[in-house]
């Protein structure tokens, strides 16, 4: 096969964690090689794709960068359902974000059926003088949920490449696990693998989501257009 590529793996990655821990910064650092201190908080979720070559395989990731602000909580399940990998991010200078990340992890474990790759990320190590979560504590927690632990800085571009390399390797390993059905494997280098994605979100998002505020049933009450101008 040309350039020796044996297979392409297409998987879904979801990024979870409190607002402001640096989820968007991490993924834009990785996919766009950029960092913006003045970035605005994510509204809803953003979709990225990226491609990693490892050994004789290509791993293509469809990435959901979710919004961590509390008001979006009800929306998050539709992004982690059917994910093959998750980044659980906290900010090493913010204790609450470490606690809340554990809640995300629990929720994730309770809702995902197939085995998945989990990574716990302690971000903002460039601010280590303000560190409130120790490396040991985080590592211990990661081990307890079967996740790997990484420390990163989106600002200084530290440790991020390693995270994605690990995820890619683990996904390749996972792809030979027969119980994993949602990970797609193609022969050779499939450029268009990502185009065949249109069913993903619909097919998987039918479960229950509790959310008092997010109701759209009432759309029919909306104003109709006056047929002519009003004077």
């Amino acid at each position: 096969m040309a350039n020796g590529i044996m297979k392409t793996i297409v998987g879904k990655l979801v990024i979870l964690g409190d607002g402001g821990v640096g989820k968007t910064s991490l993924i834009t650092r990785y996919t766009q090689k950029a960092f913006n201190l003045n970035i605005s908080s994510t509204i809803g979720a953003s979709f990225f794709t990226c491609k990693t070559n490892i050994d004789n395989a290509i791993v293509r990731l469809q990435i959901w960068d979710t919004a961590g602000q509390e008001r979006f909580k009800a929306m998050t399940p539709m992004f982690y359902r059917n994910a093959n990998a998750a980044l659980l991010v906290f900010d090493i200078t913010c204790l609450d974000s470490f606690g809340n990340m554990q809640t995300w992890a629990q929720q994730l474990k309770g809702n995902v059926v197939e085995p998945m790759v989990l990574c716990v990320i302690g971000n903002k190590i460039d601010l280590s003088e303000n560190r409130v979560v120790s490396r040991e504590e985080a590592l211990q927690y990661a081990n307890s949920i079967g996740a790997q632990y990484f420390e990163c800085s989106a600002k200084e571009d530290q440790g991020i490449g390693q995270v994605f390399e690990t995820i890619s390797r683990d996904l390749i390993r996972l792809s030979s696990d027969s119980s994993v059905k949602s990970l797609k494997v193609y022969e050779g280098d499939v450029e268009s693998a990502l185009m065949a994605r249109s069913t993903d979100l619909e097919a998987t998002d039918v479960g229950r989501i509790e959310e008092p505020g997010i109701s759209i049933d009432s759309i029919a009450h909306a104003k109709t257009v006056p047929s002519k101008c009003c004077y």
């Binding site: 402001g20 605005s40 908080s41 994510t42 953003s46 539709m78 997010i214 257009v225 002519k228």
Partner: protein
Amino acid sequence: MSCTEVNPGASVESVLVTTDSCENFEQMSSSLEEIKNYVGKSPEVSDSSTSVDNLEESNSLNAVGSDDDYIRSKDWLEKKKHIFVLSSAGKPIYSRYGIEDKLVTMFGVMQALVSFVQDQNDTINCIHAGSTKYVFLNKNHLILVAISKTEESVPQLVSQLNYVFNQIASILTLTRLNKIYEQRRNYDLRRLLSGVERIIDHLLNFYEIEPALTLGAVQCLSLPPSIRDTISSAITQACSKIKNLVFAILLANNKLITLVRMKKYAIHPADLHLIFNLVQASESFKTVESWTPLCLPRFDASGFLYGHVSYLAEDCQACLLLLTVERDVFFTLSEAKHKIVEKMRRANCLEAINESLNSTDGTCLNAGFPELRHYIYKSKSTAQFHQPEISAPYINNTERLLMLYKRAHRRLHSVGRPLKLLFERSPQEAVLAWDTRGFELYVILEPLIETSAAIASVGKLLNWIKKREDKLFHLNAPTF
């Protein structure tokens, strides 16, 4: 004037809900339900019994309280317009300047004032103290306050408060907002609004620099009509099979390129302004595709629409929003977007958009009107307006220009004594404002211009706009 029959930019059908710009936005987002709640509810007396005594106490606290240092700082006191949002229980939610927590005492005073008057079965609307106006907007669970030393009128300030309220409703939906406070009157809403301060800040600045909000209208990007039609049909074709898509909105640089809608529905300019503001305030929409819940309070304050939000391409910074009632059709819309961009690219629409965005020859002088400095023309039947490129002497003083327009707008729409025609001369400039059945026109002229010459110019200008109306306005109202 002889040219009233010239009515550029008029259209029978409009993509926008047409409002009279003098409408005060009092009713803006009170859906039927809110009105019902409001009427059905007896005022809660228990907490609101804060009387004048407490008020005085707070004031004296104010004098000694150390947390109030910032309030007394020169910087804070010199701000021309403060905007505050608090819950009806007096909890701070938003302050345009300074950290709300430091202003707790003041929020207490404001809440006390409102509820004191409410206890007399009255509502407080505004207080004038010297040149300072205190304007109150009392919603079901929120109190919004403007303290302004600007010359903006009370209705103009109320309209800004309404925009802020709608911004909050747009983030949470009115239903959720009401539910939260019905369950816990003391809830700290900031928990749910983190990150939103920035959007509200932006909205308030937007109001200061964009005539659109004062006018209740939207400006279109000037484009050859064939290009605009091609773009609209690229959208309709790519989306024709998609169920429950309500609006497709393409905008760039705070100007509307096109808007395609579901039959029967139109969008309200105030909702569109919230969208413009959100897009401009959100760096995070750039370079990715986002899936964003969004409530358009004038469309329906009770629920969310979901938006696929993305910029067209790296080489064309126009933002496309596909708004649907379905929460899980991201990939369908993502595919549609790619089709739309492909079609547009093939038909050279991206270039046309860029060309219009980059063009700088749209000044009055370039159009052959040396005696005019600037103007705003609003077509009422489409809720759209057009203004030329800003030129000297306002390039570095858009604030003054905006102030002139706001003043003229206020005079035309004065509640007590509305005017049809206004011509005013000052040493700096002459201002002509004209309100007809079909349009509003505001013109800034050289100060020494003769009245007859001004009128002749205006006639010429209307004809000039008429000739280009299909380029300057979105006159079709395409549907899916």
